[in-house]
């Protein structure tokens, strides 16, 4: 589900880009192939066109518009697939002791802070039953309970220059969001799922969840959030592997 994408489609088995370019040059077909081969034309289109589509997407995005919420009867527990790089590879998931857990808030903020799980759970909670949409095309109605990131931002006070929120996860996953989407009222740091606690495979003890972004933007096992004025070159796990950055719904 979140951290989602296509392990089977993704790069292993391909010729590494540098090796490919060497081969293409060697064969004297570089110019011809650069436009129509593996990592070729689609990557060129992506590079040239992402700013255009991003402008369109952020223009369409209304930071005040709430995504539709559903009754409990609409929840689809089976539809929410666990689609995680480690889980799919059979590797162990991060095991975090909830007692020891801390969420660090860093970056360009007036009051950097660190929250225990109990401190987060003591903040006013929001429960929302929304549609979680995966880049693969499937979707699932899920009930999430957590703290709006907006409320956490109000405590740490990001500086006026801040444009991005950056999410670091225990398993090495990383993501960055535009600030408007991060501060959307339905963007939550979640500790509960479908009325119960958040299961480990869904990112316990704390994960990011929102109806306004695709699943791969919704980091699990979040341990640190940075409010940043500049977007680092590492924009996100799947983004650095060729997926689009904005990915808004």
């Amino acid at each position: 589900m979140s951290n989602s994408s296509l392990p089977e489609d993704f790069a292993p088995g391909r010729i590494p880009r540098r090796r490919f370019l060497q081969l293409a040059q060697f064969s004297g077909l570089g110019t011809l192939l650069s436009g129509c081969s593996v990592g070729g034309l689609e990557a060129v289109i992506h590079q040239a066109w992402e700013p255009v589509n991003q402008t369109l997407q952020s223009a369409i995005f209304n930071p005040q518009r709430l995504a539709p919420e559903f009754p409990d009867a609409a929840i689809q527990p089976q539809a929410l697939l666990t689609n995680d790089i480690n889980f799919n590879a059979g590797r162990p998931l991060p095991a975090i002791d909830p007692q020891q857990y801390r969420l660090k808030i860093t970056g360009d903020v007036a009051q950097p802070q660190s929250f225990s799980l109990a401190a987060l759970q003591a903040l006013p909670a929001r429960t929302m039953t929304i549609r979680h949409v995966c880049v693969e095309g499937w979707a699932a109605v899920v009930k999430w309970t957590g703290v709006p990131l907006q409320a956490i931002a109000a405590l740490v006070q990001p500086l006026e220059t801040v444009r991005y929120a950056y999410f670091y996860s225990e398993d090495g996953y990383y993501e960055s969001w535009d600030l408007a989407s991060a501060l959307h009222p339905q963007t939550l740091m979640v500790y509960g799922k479908n009325g119960g606690p958040l299961p480990p495979e869904n990112g316990a003890p704390l994960r990011l969840a929102s109806p306004v972004k695709l699943g791969y933007k919704q980091s699990k096992w979040v341990t640190e959030i940075g409010f940043l004025s500049q977007l680092p070159s590492r924009r996100g796990y799947w983004e650095d592997r060729g997926y689009e950055w904005y990915a808004g719904l």
């Binding site: 995504a67 995966c134 719904l249």
Partner: protein
């Protein structure tokens, strides 16, 4: 010899639409294969030969690039139809329904069916655009999701079925064109064509002039 020549606007629209549809359907099938609409992960993939983009992200890049050409082409075509008043000739009216029901002239009946085909084809293209916008931005355009009952799976099916409809209706559009004007007429949609023997031309479907 008669030269069959179409307005450049007609050629531009057809050429760009054909290219955009090929790219949209090919990249759409690539995206489809990430999680088949029918059956999910256990479902049947579209044949690889038909897909464009190589992998899910590549398919999406193609899809969200060509959507601009597909949508803007339809937009200016719509403006052109209204301004030129060509919609009165190209699109069916009650007369066409009458001709189909009780007409005696087979040519007239062919023209009427062709107008209905064109209407259905354009309506299908618009439907694919609207449902695509609903899948692209289901929160910003939640009213589109509501159009199909608010169900995500219904929306996916509603966005996939136009592929089948577009292929069938395009085939029908071509068949009608061939029946009305043969290969030269079809060819003239893209490049100038020549016809040997003069043939009675109909202004509503054949812009031939000596």
């Amino acid at each position: 010899m008669i030269r069959l020549h179409q307005k450049w606007l007609v050629r531009f629209f057809h050429g760009l639409n054909l290219m955009a549809l090929w790219a949209m359907i090919g990249s759409g099938l690539q995206i489809y294969n990430a999680n088949p609409v029918f059956g999910g992960r256990a479902g049947v993939d579209a044949p690889k030969i038909l897909t464009i983009g190589g992998w899910l992200a590549g398919g999406r890049h193609w899809h969200f690039f060509f959507m601009w050409f597909f949508a803007l082409n339809l937009l200016w075509y719509g403006v052109y139809l209204l301004v030129s008043r060509h919609w009165q000739q190209r699109y069916p009216s009650l007369k066409d329904l009458k001709a189909i029901q009780s007409g005696k002239n087979p040519k007239r009946i062919t023209y009427s069916w062709h107008r209905i085909t064109i209407l259905l084809l354009i309506a299908t293209l618009l439907w694919s655009l609207v449902t695509g916008l609903g899948m692209y931005k289901p929160v910003q355009f939640s009213w589109i999701v509501s159009l199909v009952g608010g169900e995500w799976q219904a929306l996916r099916i509603a966005h996939f079925l136009p592929v089948v409809a577009i292929v069938l209706l395009s085939w029908s559009h071509i068949r009608h064109g061939l029946k009305i004007g043969g290969w030269p007429l079809l060819q003239s949609i893209f490049v100038d064509a020549y016809r040997r023997s003069p043939r009675k031309s109909n202004p509503s479907s054949d812009r031939s002039h000596p």
